[in-house]
Symmetry: C2
Subunit: 343 residues, 2 copies
């Protein structure tokens, strides 16, 4: 390392860092169909390809054990990886789980964590095939790798969106972010007055979305049944706006989305207002929803039109038209990507 | 979690914990050929199968940045996973790398770490296809997953050793442990008197073995060229004795090894003596050598007899005969497994 130069990671940001890492990579094998730069890597040579993805959750960064039950955490650690498999339009098959934990955790805590992991393995029909258990000097760390499979002609990359495609989002957005705000507030209330019982009853939907998200494998299976292959797809983990920038960049297109089409749950909306936050900003920039964002050809619209949980939020435009949100009043405002802020 | 009961992890140990986790696992897919319990999982359905393994390295547990250059660390994080692929007699193809780092690391440090990762990717001919970069509140964490492939009839599990097979070990053992002892001593010397320069020149081989181990893919390729499929194989990461217990348990056999056949480098030997340690104990229980331990049929012996880097350390016996070391004086003493002591 050149001791004379010190560039802070915050100067180049997460995506700058990923680009920098990506630049040093040389692909050697024909079996590497897709490397860094999508929700999962795609490997193999035949008609059926494998997808591989990995994600690490760290205590104090991605979760707070003050309000996160270990069973939910185990489930979530699996679900966030399954969500990346779903985002490739693939079906998950196996997972490995590495856990680092300090001796403040008794065996019973490990049991509880794995109860959630096994529950998720059943729910998503995947086999837990390996991993690693090690000591940690600091907090709990869970690193999951998921392996899935997909027929070559059914993969959805981020890069396939075409002009006039319809932009779809599943479920509702912003709930996990508002759930986190509530959990953090109640934690502070508890810390300043341990006799106060946290009042979470009105917030069960949004706190559930934060603590125990569900990957949308149901949508992947429904799309298969309807014989729809999304022209592009990714999961919404960093926030809708940020993901739209990824699709736009990877596909070389612009996007136009409509405020009145954005899906938001009433509890999310009400809680945002309670917290003096703009609900639409929560929908655009809230992370961890683990819903799917995808684009379909116009001719596939009829097949999905009446789907209760798929929302048609806009359409794909030419790259030079940029990324815009049309507000309820009809004004087109440029989208801003906030994305990930851990550093 | 039942609040009434608290079992310390140290009470059941690493292997007890792994057994406990293993018990909760149900395998659902025919494509899961081998789950938990070998160096890597084996998945797939055709003639060519995939192997997948994952390992996490944590600062303060697995490495100390006081004496570990980041470039070596990056290389090692990959090499230890490749070693698990080699242990299945498979060839590695792809890796994913997740890194968590705090803001005390500048971008230049990340560059240095990835320089080592990319060097290893070239050395082992694997593609870096994905991963994750995240913030850490504490130390540096690196989690690597490696994917490899192998023809179905060439896989070596831990479970295939047969009575009268010859037990082989590659390279030399105990060096990484003694390298660690030297590095730790020099660190203490430096901490108590920062003007003292560490004197590592006599120890370059053993410190190199600790800081930058090399997975034995060369041996895997040579065995293929010689058309030898080891009846069982694993890598030596926790210490020879511990690994022999794994082979013994998985294969349902006993082992007899000979002290005078155990491979030890002169520098390892001399350093053990300097530290008042029994060199043979270092060979039996030193971890992180990342050599291969395997068994071959008697008829394959001729093909390997003159190999300069494969040592014939003993033979496989009946399960009821147990695990024994025959000392230089001809006494058979029961082997003791120490294994992993991170908790």
């Amino acid at each position: 390392m050149n001791k004379d130069k010190r560039t802070e990671i915050s100067e180049i940001g997460e995506f700058g860092l990923i680009d920098r890492i990506h630049q040093g990579v040389k692909i050697k094998h024909a079996s590497t169909v897709k490397g860094i730069g999508d929700d999962a890597a795609v490997i193999g040579e035949g008609k059926r390809l494998m997808v591989v993805t990995t994600d690490m959750l760290l205590e104090g960064v991605h979760f707070d054990l003050a309000y996160t039950p270990l069973k939910h955490l185990g489930f979530k650690a699996v679900a966030v990886n399954i969500s990346d498999i779903a985002a490739m339009n693939a079906v998950p098959r196996q997972i490995t789980v590495s856990v680092a934990l300090s001796n403040r955790f008794p065996v019973e805590a490990v049991d509880e964590l794995y109860e959630g992991i096994n529950l998720a393995a059943d729910h998503y029909q995947v086999d837990l095939v390996g991993g690693d258990t090690t000591a940690s000097r600091s907090g709990l760390i869970i690193s999951v790798t998921a392996v899935g499979e997909v027929e070559k002609e059914k993969i959805s990359f981020r890069s396939g969106a075409k002009i006039n495609d319809i932009i779809c989002a599943t479920g509702d957005l912003g709930a996990a972010l508002m759930g986190l705000q509530v959990l953090e507030r109640e934690k502070q209330v508890f810390l300043s007055n341990p006799e106060m019982q946290p009042d979470l009853e009105k917030y069960t939907y949004i706190t559930g979305r934060q603590l125990r998200p569900d990957a949308r494998m149901d949508i992947v299976h429904e799309l298969r049944d309807l014989e729809i292959v999304p022209t592009s797809m990714m999961d919404i983990s960093d926030g809708l706006a940020s993901e739209l920038f990824h699709i736009s960049k990877a596909s070389g297109v612009g996007v136009m989305i409509y405020e009145d089409k954005l899906p938001i749950d009433k509890q999310t909306y009400d809680t945002a207002v309670e917290f003096d936050l703009d609900p639409i900003t929560c929908v655009l920039n809230g992370g961890e929803d683990y819903e799917l964002l995808f684009t379909i050809r116009q001719e596939d619209f009829k097949k999905l039109e009446k789907h209760p949980d798929i929302h048609f939020i806009g359409h794909v435009t030419k790259a030079e038209e940029g990324l815009f949100l049309v507000t309820k009043s009809g004004t087109a405002v440029p989208l801003q990507a906030q994305g990930w802020k851990h550093f």
